[in-house]
């Protein structure tokens, strides 16, 4: 999935801003695992809003859903399919 690569690159960029260049798995929890700070959740949210049009005010916010590359990919996929259904 193209989006997954973008998500991974974005998260890598956030980690790099802390000087954290260690590799991470797609399933690795980055927020709850402590590699990213809660304020980074805001960066992730804004990235998802701008890049994929995800509206958290509508779908509700659960930090678990933006905790890893896999979780974010699932969130984007489910948002897209829900969005299509509502068309």
């Amino acid at each position: 999935m193209q989006g997954k690569t973008e998500i991974r690159e974005f998260l890598q960029g956030l980690l790099t801003s802390y000087g954290d260049s260690a590799p991470f798995h797609d399933s690795e929890p980055l927020l709850s695992g402590g590699r990213l700070q809660s304020i980074d959740a805001v960066e992730i949210v804004m990235f998802l809003e701008q890049k994929f049009g995800v509206d958290f005010a509508t779908i509700g916010f659960d930090r678990d859903r933006i905790d890893s590359v896999d979780a974010i990919t699932d969130l984007v996929e489910s948002f897209k399919s829900a969005d299509k259904r509502s068309e």
């Binding site: 801003s17 954290d20 700070q37 809660s38 805001v42 678990d64």
Partner: protein
């Protein structure tokens, strides 16, 4: 596991307490019955440092023994024991007993409603309903005739609610997390066995689910980490005692509160002593929060939940936002979860900077003030609503200054580039420490003296007198 984004930064990795949880032989031994008993005994001995009553230590350790040897019943034990202990301790006071029981039942009821009707008005915004309801209860208590039965009952409920409101709040926030419908863990997180302030340590049941040990090896590692953290808490507590004896006893440097009080009385201490007391207060606040948080999280880990530390290397922070995150993590998380996110997702979505600043102010000024104002409910009861609000002028000023600094810090984060040790690490670290040293002028005696007294004291640090 790294904490709070503390990345590899090339610093010397000295450890006063060895990483015993990484030693295979120690981990294997800790999974045996004898090993578990040794860990429990060591934990009991350690926690005795903080709990004077031996019987409490025995009860506390015995419950951890049950969760260790009967991990399948961990959630049930942790759900039943704390509330039972609290109720047993309050049997001498029927009002307290009834208030706590009422609030806990109310918390369960609200959780059940939020889960049952997620699309209702309450189900969509349960925190707004909870906090509005709590505010209404306080207003009702303020309106009641002093010393009447209604007055006593209402203030009893306010007191119990103040203790449980954020725990209930986390249970309500957990309504959207998966897997759902786990009331035992929700109850276990209501003023948990390992202790907490009014801030839930460590957050709610959703977080506990994620960090719960799933097998004997994980439990052993988590408990060893708990034991290490407790040892660290004891070492810091001993250091704290020596620190006070040396600086405030032997050197007779006044505490920050004393220095401020003497300035207000017109007999200020010398300029250098005012600075020294401010610097000491900064380190003392870090020490105090570290000891308290480490003790709670050590207990949490002993129960089988690998929670992040509450305080983690705050003195290495290079930004104000990073310090705020590292200093009192679970309180910051509370402000973020209950105030920052709801504001951030709803308002000023078209303006990135304004959105961030508005949400930060909602959390750090409104949320912070609401938390402390309701936590100190006895002040409202004694002084009356308006006087109590007026007493908060210093705290509001402190919160506004902190929110401004945090907003700037967050907005500058994107531009931050490491530029070597001195410019990239040393100077920013000193700057952050200095900022909080100065901000702490508005912390001690914040309800004793008016804002102008604190401002005068602040100016006097720079030899400005008015």
């Amino acid at each position: 596991m790294k904490y709070f984004g503390s990345a590899a930064n090339g610093t010397f990795d000295f450890r006063l307490i060895p990483r015993i949880e990484t030693y295979p032989k120690v981990v294997s031994f800790s999974q045996t019955s004898i090993g578990k008993s040794v860990i429990l005994a060591l934990f009991g001995l350690g926690i005795r440092f903080f709990i004077p009553a031996s019987i409490s230590v025995i009860v506390f350790t015995s419950i951890f023994g049950l969760t260790t040897f009967l991990p399948a019943y961990r959630r049930f034990i942790l759900a039943v024991c704390p509330i039972t202990l609290v109720l047993l301790q309050s049997t001498h006071d029927p009002l307290l007993f009834g208030s706590i029981l009422t609030v806990v039942i109310l918390g369960i009821f609200l959780y059940w409603c939020a889960m049952g009707w997620p699309q209702s008005r309450f189900g969509k915004r349960p925190i707004a309903f909870l906090l509005t309801g709590f505010t209404a209860l306080i207003l009702l208590a303020c309106a009641a005739t002093r010393h009447s039965l209604t007055y006593l009952i209402l203030w009893g409920l306010v007191g119990a609610m103040a203790s449980y409101v954020w725990f209930i709040g986390y249970a309500l926030l957990d309504r959207s997390s998966k897997p759902k419908r786990d009331l035992t863990l929700e109850l276990a997180s209501f003023r948990p066995l390992w202790g907490s302030t009014n801030t839930p340590f460590p957050k709610g049941a959703a977080y506990l689910r994620r960090i719960e040990a799933q097998n004997p090896e994980q439990l052993a590692i988590t408990q060893l980490k708990g034991l290490k953290l407790l040892t660290w808490a004891i070492l810091l507590a001993v250091f704290q005692i020596l620190w006070y004896r040396f600086f405030h006893g032997y050197l007779q440097i006044p505490t920050s509160a004393q220095a401020l009080a003497m300035s207000v009385r017109g007999t200020p201490v010398a300029w250098h002593l005012r600075w020294e007391s401010q610097l000491l207060y900064f380190f003392e606040s870090v020490l105090a929060i570290s000891v308290t948080g480490h003790r709670f999280i050590a207990g949490c880990r002993m129960a089988g939940f690998n929670a992040l530390r509450n305080t983690y290397r705050p003195l290495s922070s290079t930004t104000i936002a990073e310090f705020f995150n590292r200093f009192y993590y679970y309180y910051k998380e509370l402000l973020v979860d209950f105030f920052f996110y709801p504001t951030f997702f709803r308002y000023w979505k078209g303006n990135r900077r304004l959105r961030m600043v508005f949400a930060t102010f909602a959390a750090v000024v409104f949320g912070n003030a609401f938390y402390h104002f309701t936590r100190d409910w006895q002040n409202i009861m004694d002084e009356g609503l308006w006087n109590a609000l007026a007493d908060y002028q210093v705290f509001l000023f402190y919160s506004a200054a902190l929110a401004t600094a945090l907003s700037v810090s967050q907005l500058r984060k994107q531009d931050r580039k490491p530029t070597g040790f001195v410019l990239g690490r040393l100077l920013p670290t000193i700057g952050v420490g200095l900022f909080f040293c100065l901000l702490n002028v508005f912390v001690p005696n914040e309800r004793t003296y008016p804002l102008i007294a604190h401002l005068r004291y602040f100016a006097s640090l720079f030899s400005i007198h008015f």
